[in-house]
Subunit: 502 residues, 2 copies
């Protein structure tokens, strides 16, 4: 279907898209190289751009074009590209017109100053300083939800922004079933003698870590001609354009896992974005479909692949060559056990696969309570420590590694920021099982350092579609089933059952 | 003067300003870190942003505000900030409304692809490839001039964009007087035995060069809390915000001068921008007033300061500590002679102070001929070589170091790109003489590595004013005279007369 209304709509959407991507460049720069003096104006710049993008997108002319295209696209199949463009744009338009552009600018300006304040306050363990910022963030988050009256739960409109169609009630149900399985598993493993993972905390020089990480993700299929890797305090993936998807990582010379699994995690996100159908460029279809599906991709490469024995069968000799001093006396099996050590710990991004979701659930539940009004910002540190005590049996010595640990609440709205991690874990095994069913050779290829079959399968079945299908449509399309925790539970029980001889 | 019309105007100007600065971030990124795959969309992003900025600036509402403010500001003195804001905005508005926003977007898109093509074609010495790009650039440049009918010379409207108020005829006159003085001086020196500058081409390790350069410019007064230095093929200075002014440099391990004088040059530009009155932030007054005045600042720090004997009296021992292998056996006087070696050469940015302006004049004259239509793009390489033969008695072995040498024609319009360099050289000595007259201690402070008196004088007399005064107003205000080549000629004759015992 080609007609002038569609062309006109696409041209307007491209303009909005350019502004959004320009905002991404400003954000990336802010998080990587911007000097401190740039901070106040950068917030305003981001706000201005976001506001103009919002104004242009919510122009009644867009709504009119969408109305006119409605009948034309109704006759087309659901998976037609143009029909999908109109459908997804309609959904985003109907949502966007509910939010005033000045509010968007206010949010951007606020989160920019909040992020800068957090970057200072976090190492100083100064949560007090962050209270007014977070109170405003919470206020803005409630206001945002308020633009969508008729929700079941106040968090639903916020969750919708990252995981379209999911509801707080449904997520609580899934999380509760998962918790029932994970807590006994974690407990059982905790009762066993602890694995020695000290080999991971020997000296791994900075440059070699960057080199090794980049080598691995290049082999995965991350395209450095269409992306790059830099460093930032909190790693992230960002799409600056279809041909420019960037990741950031972090390096500690005395902690190999800290940087390496961050690199493979972000590469998973980035490969998703690099794999979107180029035809979708400049439209709302150009991007990952949900936070959950995005995490399914990052966790596939971070966990299912780069924490697997097959992966290290190929890469461990290379790793040893790169870090001879650190690994000379470490057999691969010991290294493999070290990177898969299960232990209740304080930091989400360093957590093992079994306890990781407990970190997520704590954050999700705190978000819900903040939004429901049953928890005040000033009481967040205490609530955080209490939740860690209850769920993981440990407590952070500071708020630095407590409720100031993640950047999410300090760089965006509160609510909807965390559930995607666990939804992604669940999906990752559903997808991977399906890939294995179609291509059993994936397993043996991994042990040869070959990832093309898997990467192609992911591109074909997930990446290329961008936002064309919702997460639930995609899961159904790919696996024939709905979201289901059992493959994930099975995966964990198999892997850690073997590892810990349960 | 404070009233709501002014506030409204300022708020609109701030929005335009934010978009322009966002464009600067995108440009900086493109020239430093962007992967090749980002190129096509980046051009479009820059074009979209420039077009929206242009649309917003040329909104009739801006004109109406300016009309309403006219009578209010007429009663204010010329140097009142608000009166200056209205005057300068009026000037830029009257110019901007003559250029259609779609044309701006077309130019941005074109120069982005041209720059990328040049970055590839230049090392491959493939001028042929650049012909269609340059032909389009020339076509766009003529079109641009065409938006300003009534000019004396087709280049005048283009010159106006960087050196407001200057005319091709006037520049040709100044250049011709200068040439009469420079050519005999250069010839006289060329007849003497050549200086040995081989010490500059020993091994100067990359990191130490970056370190030393940053140390020097920090001491000049470049504020790294409000700026940074990166590398790019062609060094430049760019203002991302009042608190974020960045420079780029280049490093060759076997050529100390190549990187070092580029760093001190760009630092001069950057300190100008860092020194603009913060009250001007977000308005058209926030920025250097002309290409010429900008170059006067860069050339002050590059030449008058960092190619002076006093400067090296302080820094040479530090330089030797940093590069002991290269400089152990080189007395300061030999080093000083080496960095001031006069010799006809191929590369403008490496040229000595005596021959430098001849490079500029060649480019300016070629630009004039291209615009006048007496020279075709395809004949540019030949014309370039011919001019170098005539003026400097040498010829480049390739177009890489010929007409593809500078980025200017490949990253902007043709016309008005070069005259500022020589105008700046002339102004730099007029300003510096004035600074010395007020503060004779500047000379002796330099020999102690102290630059605060000079920097403060420049801030006070030049930097803080931003675009408030035109270049000619500023020269008059600071020196009491008009633009005058005699102090510059005197400076060169003194310095090189002593150096070469003429």
């Amino acid at each position: 279907m080609e007609n002038s209304i569609l062309q006109q709509l696409k041209s307007r959407l491209r303009e909005v898209h350019d502004l959004e991507r320009a905002g991404a460049v400003l954000y990336w720069d802010q998080a990587t190289y911007m000097p401190p003096g740039g901070s106040p104006e950068r917030g305003r710049q981001l706000g201005t751009i976001a506001q103009i993008a919002q104004e242009k997108f919510t122009d009644p002319a867009v709504g009119k074009s969408l109305d006119q295209l409605q009948s034309l696209t109704e006759s087309l199949p659901h998976d037609d590209d143009d029909a999908s463009l109109v459908r997804v744009t309609r959904r985003e338009y109907d949502r966007a017109i509910k939010v005033p552009p000045s509010f968007i600018a206010e949010v951007y300006q606020h989160i920019t100053t909040t992020y800068q304040a957090w970057a200072q306050a976090r190492p100083e363990n100064d949560f007090e300083k962050m209270i007014p910022f977070l109170e405003k963030s919470l206020d803005l988050s409630r206001k945002m939800a308020g633009f969508f009256p008729g929700y079941d739960h106040i968090a639903d409109p916020l969750i919708d922004l990252s995981d379209y169609g999911m509801k707080a009630t449904e997520i609580r149900k899934i999380f509760s079933s998962l918790q029932e399985e994970l807590v006994p598993l974690a407990k059982k493993i905790s009762s066993l003698p602890p694995v020695d993972d000290s080999c991971l905390r020997r000296r791994y020089p900075h440059d070699q870590q960057m080199f090794f990480g980049e080598r691995v993700i290049r082999q995965f299929g991350f395209d450095f001609g269409r992306g790059r890797q830099d460093k930032s305090p909190h790693p992230f993936t960002i799409k600056l354009s279809m041909g420019d998807v960037r990741i950031t990582t972090r390096i500690k010379e005395d902690d190999f896992a800290w940087g390496f699994f961050s690199t493979t995690h972000e590469a998973g996100h980035a490969m998703y974005e690099q794999g979107v159908n180029p035809e979708f460029e400049g439209t709302p279809l150009d991007g990952g479909t949900s936070s959950g599906v995005h995490e399914s991709q990052s966790r596939t490469w971070e966990n299912i692949i780069s924490r697997s024995l097959s992966f290290w069968e190929f890469f461990y000799p290379k790793l040893r060559e790169t870090f001879p001093d650190a690994l000379e006396d470490v057999p691969m099996e010991d290294f493999y056990r070290a990177i898969n050590k299960v232990q209740p710990s304080l930091i989400r991004t360093e957590a093992d696969e079994v306890t990781y979701n407990l970190h997520v659930m704590i954050r999700f539940e705190l978000e819900m309570q903040l939004l429901e009004g049953t928890l005040a910002i000033k009481d967040l540190p205490e609530a955080w420590h209490k939740a860690y005590n209850t769920n993981l049996g440990i407590q952070a010595p500071s708020d630095t590694d407590g409720c100031m640990q993640d950047s999410h609440w300090y760089s965006g709205l509160i609510g909807g920021a965390f559930q995607g991690y666990t939804l992604g874990n669940i999906m990752s095994t559903q997808f991977f099982d399906q890939a294995l069913a179609s291509h059993p050779e994936i397993e043996s290829e991994m042990a040869k350092g070959e990832f093309q079959t898997l990467h192609n399968w992911l591109k074909e079945n997930i990446h290329q579609h961008g936002k064309k299908y919702t997460a639930s449509e995609l899961i159904k399309r790919v696996t024939g089933k709905d979201l289901d925790i059992s493959p994930y539970i099975q995966y964990l029980k198999n892997k850690f059952g073997t590892l810990y001889s349960l």
